[in-house]
């Protein structure tokens, strides 16, 4: 890319495609954030604008829009940028690239329709099954079909990036994979390995059952397959943020990445360890022996390693940048960082919250301590510090740098953008602090009305009312912050005739790939080891679950949240399709 040129100048077609992915992502963010606000006010009984049973439609939409649609559309945008920029070549065939984007959009739309139809009685479609869709709760088949189509879209996106890399490799034999592309490829390997779980759960069991092709299923099996996918998916949300921290943050701080080799090691550790840990979400499940839970626990603890290494590299890179900018002293260099840059400040604050969320995650991972917090409000506290901040705030901060590169327009409202990221930081701490404390006294998650008749929560310090107020204030601040972000993005998109402040170039790492053994780039080797680990961690539990409950369960029929799904046209069409497939 010529010096000083933006990405949009160098790759106009690709920039248009990435912008499309970002708009899908931002639209989801807006809708999801709105539902989040309704929930924060409803469950604290501060303002109830919906019926309590509708809360679960809102909650399903909040989960799916934010953790599936917002995060993954942003991911494909960032990854497409990273691959194109670091390989310095566009995709092999742009029609294919638009094709997977189309599939993802179609899938997301089908699922969104199935969920949102829950708000009206005039359409006979329901999917109030939450983001985890545990059977035997049953959604309308469209919900599952949409998810499958969406995931297939992401698989093809991965194939597209591997194809670009292979083409690049042909032109550059013997060269090390550029770091951003390396990160994209390893993340996608993790995604392929892990999404098999949810694909099998839906295609083999839940979808046929929702179409009444099979009469029963084994809820422990589908739940285990979901969590086989459900933990790696959190890294799928997080790794684009890691990519931005490794690639963009050092540059924004005024320096260069500290170590390229260690960054590669970190991503390989994620490929190896993020899947064989899913059972830690099932510590309190019957039907799974303690031994399997113990294995998942130790694997989970080792999964701390790549995050701890990342903390080191990021802070070291920031310090390097600060010293390049004239920072001095043990701690005084902190003041030399570019705090007025919202992209930098947002990422730095996100990293700080992430560290905090990491420690609450260790509590979740400690299997015997998990009894105290399992399914309490503590858990959404944790998830909001992680995907809701480490990922979401990093994405928003990243967008302040990336969107100008992708549009060729200057960011509108740099000062407001700084206020926006700071608001998010304050809002999330208010909200999650209340959630953590509420969880510790036993307030449950995922409920419209945590106010019960038979007992009172015993709050150690303060009162439930105070916790509720704090949660609602935090949630409201977050909503305002999200809306501010979206407004700035829209204004920037229309800010024609300007140029970005920064150029799009990424400086090389201090310690480059030549300092690491070439084996790190041997992707086949890592796939093989990851597969072995997955087989070790999952073959025995799955065999045990199937032998206990049967592949299709002990006659467990559907409990539909969909009302009389049989009458819809969509369903008839689906049955026709499935009949052909059979």
């Amino acid at each position: 890319m010529p010096n000083g040129a933006t990405f949009a100048d160098a790759y106009p077609t690709q920039a248009r495609h990435i912008r499309a992915a970002f708009w899908a992502s931002f639209l989801s963010l807006g809708v999801g954030a709105f539902f989040g606000l309704i929930q924060a006010l409803h469950r604290t009984d501060i303002l109830r604008v919906i019926e309590s049973q509708t809360y679960y439609t809102v909650l399903t939409a909040h989960g799916v829009f934010l953790v599936i649609s917002f995060t993954i559309f942003f991911l494909v945008g960032v990854f497409q940028w990273a691959v194109t920029d670091s390989l310095e070549r566009p995709p092999v065939d742009m029609r294919f690239t638009w094709g997977w984007y189309g599939l993802m959009s179609l899938g997301a739309s089908l699922t969104a329709f199935a969920i949102l139809a829950g708000f009206t009685d005039s359409i006979d479609v329901r999917a109030n099954v939450l983001f985890t869709f545990y059977a035997p709760l049953q959604a309308h088949p469209l919900f599952y079909v949409g998810l499958v189509v969406f995931v297939v879209g992401t698989w093809l996106a991965g194939a597209d990036w591997f194809r670009s890399w292979l083409a690049w490799k042909g032109d550059n034999p013997g060269e090390r994979i550029p770091l951003p592309t390396f990160m994209v490829l390893t993340t996608m390997i993790m995604w392929y390995i892990s999404s098999i779980g949810v694909a099998v759960a839906i295609l083999a069991f839940i979808l046929p059952w929702s179409l009444e092709l099979t009469g029963s299923l084994n809820p422990t099996l589908t739940r285990t397959l979901f969590w086989y996918f459900g933990h790696p998916v959190v890294y799928f949300w997080l790794l684009p943020a890691y990519l931005l921290w490794y690639i963009l943050l050092p540059k924004l701080a005024g320096g260069r990445l500290f170590s390229d080799p260690l960054a590669r090691v970190v991503f390989i550790l994620f490929v190896l360890l993020s899947t064989p840990v899913g059972i830690h979400h099932q510590y309190l499940d019957p039907g799974i022996s303690e031994g399997f839970k113990f294995i998942a626990m130790t694997n989970t603890m080792f999964l701390l390693l790549p995050s701890l290494l990342t903390a080191f590299t990021i802070i070291a890179s920031m310090e390097h940048g600060a010293r390049q900018r004239g920072g001095e002293g043990y701690f005084n260099w902190l003041t030399a960082l570019p705090w007025r840059d919202p992209a930098f400040t947002g990422m730095a604050l996100a990293g700080m919250v992430f560290a905090f969320g990491g420690f609450t995650g260790i509590v979740n991972a400690g299997m015997n301590i998990n009894y105290l917090v399992h399914n309490t409000l503590w858990v959404p506290g944790h998830i909001h510090t992680q995907v809701g901040t480490a990922a979401a705030l990093t994405f928003m901060a990243g967008a302040y740098w990336l969107v100008p590169q992708l549009t060729g327009n200057r960011l509108v409202g740099r000062g407001l953008a700084l206020v926006q990221v700071v608001l998010w930081f304050v809002g999330i701490v208010f909200m999650t602090n209340s959630m953590y404390r509420g969880g510790l006294v036993g307030i449950p998650r995922r409920t419209a009305e945590p106010q019960y008749e038979g007992f009172e929560y015993e709050v150690a310090a303060g009162s439930v009312g105070e916790l509720n107020a704090q949660l609602a204030i935090g949630g409201t601040i977050l909503f305002v912050s999200a809306m501010l972000f979206l407004a700035l993005m829209v204004l920037t998109a229309f800010n024609g005739g300007t140029e970005p402040i920064d150029d799009g170039s990424i400086p090389p790492a201090l310690s480059g790939p030549e300092d690491s053994p070439a084996v790190l780039d041997n992707l086949k080797l890592w796939v093989a080891i990851a597969a072995v680990l997955v087989v070790i961690a999952y073959s025995f539990p799955l065999a045990s679950i199937v032998s206990r409950g049967g592949l299709f369960g002990p006659d467990i029929g559907p409990i539909p949240v969909a009302i009389d799904a049989a009458s819809t046209v969509a369903r008839t069409a689906l049955e026709a399709v499935s009949a052909v497939v059979r």
Partner: protein, 266 residues
């Protein structure tokens, strides 16, 4: 591979931290004996629950000195039995299964917490040393009225706790020339024998008798009264044993069928 000195130190410290976490959790499991919910419970299909010896009649049962078992069923949107009464300072094992979807069984503010999955039986053994009323809730979304799924767990002082039941058999209607027989049966669900004073009253007649009920046995006391002594009309009866009381009415009427039906035992 070239790794900076500081990175090595950090790497080492990280590994120490991780191994330390694993060690503390292992100590909790092995040293303190905090076991996880696991696969020790058998499987049971939801449609077998009604015929099942344990879950067909959800209840609390004594199985040893200071050892109790609770057979509980979760369903949309309630728990059975409700309330659950258990003694303090005893080892209580909960066996919980679901009739329909995935639920959870969480005693609020404690570490009595397990998922409840249809087809599986969750087994949790706990000991409550604080008597009191605890909230029992489902923390896994289970449908539109999930937030209404609530039960009670009453942890009673040892002396307040019993598994004694009183059942009364009395006729509803009797001919004026017939006999009225009221039978009070005391069942002792616990293992140790109990002494109870059983009182049955009907009209002016009172029968008071002390009975010793062996563990897992029952004893009956019967009061017999000639209907003619009472005269036509409705007559109230009460039967009591300890703090348990049952009451009902018997009618002496011409031309009634002499059917003996169980009293309305609560």
């Amino acid at each position: 591979m070239r790794i900076h000195q500081y990175e090595r130190v950090w790497l080492l410290a990280s590994m120490v931290l991780i191994v330390g976490f694993i060690a503390t959790i292992t100590y909790g499991a092995v040293g303190l004996g905090i076991t996880m919910v696991d696969d020790r419970g058998a499987t049971i299909a939801p449609d077998e629950i009604n015929e099942d010896e344990r879950f067909g009649d959800p209840r609390v049962e004594q199985v040893g000195d200071d050892e109790y078992e609770v057979y509980a069923v979760a369903m949309t949107f309630a728990f059975q039995p409700d309330p659950i009464e258990i003694p303090a300072d005893s080892e209580v094992t909960f066996y919980v299964t679901s009739r329909d979807v995935i639920h959870s069984f969480y005693v609020v503010g404690t570490n009595t917490n397990t998922m409840v999955i249809p087809g599986e039986i969750s087994v949790v053994t706990v000991e409550f040393d604080e008597p009191g009323e605890y909230g029992l809730i489902c923390t896994e979304y289970c449908g539109a009225a999930h937030h209404e799924m609530e039960g009670q767990l009453a942890v009673l002082e040892d002396e307040e706790f019993d598994l004694t039941e009183l059942e009364v058999e009395a006729p509803d209607e009797v001919e004026p020339d017939g006999e009225i027989e009221i039978t009070a049966t005391v069942t002792n669900g616990q293992l140790e024998a109990i002494e109870e004073t059983v009182t049955v009253e009907l009209g002016d007649e009172t029968l008071e008798e002390s009975v010793t009920v062996e563990g897992d046995e029952s004893e009956s006391v019967t009061l017999t009264v000639d209907a003619a002594d009472l005269g036509e009309g409705d007559h109230d009866w009460t039967a009591s044993a300890g703090d348990l009381t049952e009451s009902g009415t018997v009618s002496v009427v011409e031309g009634s069928e002499d059917d003996t039906e169980g009293g309305d035992d609560a």
